[in-house]
Symmetry: C2
DNA sequence: TATCCTTACGGAATTCGTAAGCATG
DNA sequence: CATGCTTACGAATTCCGTAAGGATA
């Protein structure tokens, strides 16, 4: 048993059982990958992959049971390197963060600024993506810290820690009809709406609110980020619904924001990390810079926790 | 990074930093071990061991942090083999159980008999030792299941599950003075006592009871097991104190047992397994045969649990 | 001086990539 | 017929054990 075999197994699944692709990812030859997999199967005495003809098509029952252990072992291998890294380079290295646009654009900047000041020798990489992509980046090891709203906790391999709560605002041009009188879902439903794409920045909770009220939304445009939303609101295409944090009185002088916390459910932004993982010391520092209540100890404890907090029997 | 390196690290610690001994345990050459360790240290960029001159004398700070991860990786490697083993051989294989004498002699026989009947192709190995040795055998992987009273939970790497409760009895020859009237600690203290060695079968709780009563025990003989105790009681050397379960009316016709649950604290026998480990299916079956409330699911959940059940923050 | 680790070296085994072969959608 | 996996083979590398060297209790 060796790590190259384990890596081949893991990548084979990630690459949809295409060993040629695995070979590229692992920077080796395709017959090599083929051999690694076969040799591990021989050593363990079970077939890990289902083969139809010569192609791999899926995981066998044993394969499905082996996989989580294989992944943990590879994570642990990285953990060793990270633990060692803390000792050899101390406060020097690189930190990869995955975040949704809203977070990267509005919530993170101050944390990043403070972190850069205290950790000048750490290279920050900020990856952007949908909440699903953020989760994926954490799972693949591409990012060590993920910041998104919900969804992170949906994967067993990840731990999500509540970070802060926020609500939406209604964004309108200056001198818009909605600025007079109370804003209700009923009134909103009469306007063309511009908001997030499904799956982004609490869009789900917006839809829920309208649906529970028995109202139909007239969404004329969806975007992945508030900047785009605001741009089109400014053009008069409709009424925007965006995260409150995305509105800046200074910057958005042409626009007005109406707090809508009474209309839509509260959203919770979460910091996600790999379960069972170990991060560089400065990564814990970053998390605490972003969310002061998430101390290194709290995060480490969460990482070490089991999927379902079990009770000692009897 | 490879597994031989990790094994060398682990054994080096187990062998008290004597690489020559490690080489014997791992069935390889001493310079080989030396190289494995050095190469891993070079790859990680940190020294794992403290060297005074050429000898290894201890773990460095990084070494102490790396060790638990290294051990988990090696446990996981075994886990892979065990998971695969369940598929290739099904209900065939071997199960290594470590137990104290009392358990092996009085509690286990019926479970072993039932298990043998339902799993005829599983080879059982029953190791015997002090509670500390039982824990050690679990830690080293020599035994998969451990059965002892207390102490198992004292190691972070082990999970102990309460199994059943029991108390002590006073064992006397037929027609002994103690058979008349009530048995109290005060009366017991007037007789020469024969009981377990310290650390065995609840000896600690016996001492506690006397100490709390401000009484001094006159222990004339200690043994590791009840058979020896009973033998000397039969010879008239003194009054025995042993686990109630160890007395058998049929067998011990020369003796009488006086229930002493009102005198000494209740003891709890525990089943212990390695945290983070995976057992063969039949091993879970065995545990349930021994303690019906410890179903495979319960045990697996306990194994997957973190050391201190943590709360999701906030 | 005996124990224990390191270094040096040579042979053996393993590993890996290229090239050819074959099955499948 | 293009894609994708297996087999075959040869070269390169790695690996490991023996033997010698040196430090320490």
């Amino acid at each position: 048993m060796n790590f190259q075999q384990l890596r081949s197994i893991r990548e084979a699944i990630r690459c949809g059982f295409n060993l040629t692709e695995v070979a590229n990812v692992l920077a080796t030859s395709q017959p090599g990958v083929s051999r690694q997999i076969r040799e591990l199967e021989e050593e363990l005495g079970v077939e890990i992959f289902v083969r139809s003809g010569k192609r791999l098509t899926g995981l066998t029952e044993p394969g499905r049971e082996l996989l989580p252990v294989v992944e943990r072992m590879l994570v642990d291998a990285d953990n060793l390197r990270r633990i060692a890294g803390d000792f050899i380079e101390g406060d020097r290295g690189s930190l990869s963060i995955a975040a949704t646009h809203s977070q990267a654009r509005y919530a993170l900047p101050s944390a990043v600024r403070d972190f850069r000041a205290t950790h000048p020798n750490v290279t920050l990489q900020l990856h952007q993506g949908s909440p699903q992509q953020v989760a994926q980046m954490l799972l693949s090891g591409q990012a060590e810290v993920g910041i998104a709203t919900r969804v992170l906790a949906e994967h067993d391999e990840l731990v999500a820690m509540p970070c802060y709560r926020w609500t939406h605002s209604v964004i309108v041009p200056a001198e818009h009809a909605l600025l007079d009188g109370e804003v209700t879902l009923e009134r909103l439903a009469t306007f063309p709406l511009i908001t997030y794409e499904l799956g982004f920045t609490g869009r789900g909770t917006i839809d829920d609110a309208f649906e529970r009220a028995g109202l139909k939304m007239n969404v004329v445009l969806t975007a992945m980020d508030a900047d785009v939303i605001k741009t089109y609101v400014e053009l008069g295409l409709g009424v925007g619904i965006a995260a409150s944090i995305a509105f800046d009185e200074e910057r958005d002088r042409q626009l007005r924001a109406i707090d809508a916390r009474h209309l839509f459910p509260i959203n919770t932004t979460e910091v996600g990390v790999r379960r069972g993982g170990v991060l560089r010391r400065f990564a814990y520092d970053f998390i605490q810079t972003f969310a002061p209540h998430l101390s290194p100890e709290v995060v480490k404890r969460a990482q070490a926790s089991a999927v379902d907090t079990p009770q000692a029997p009897l």
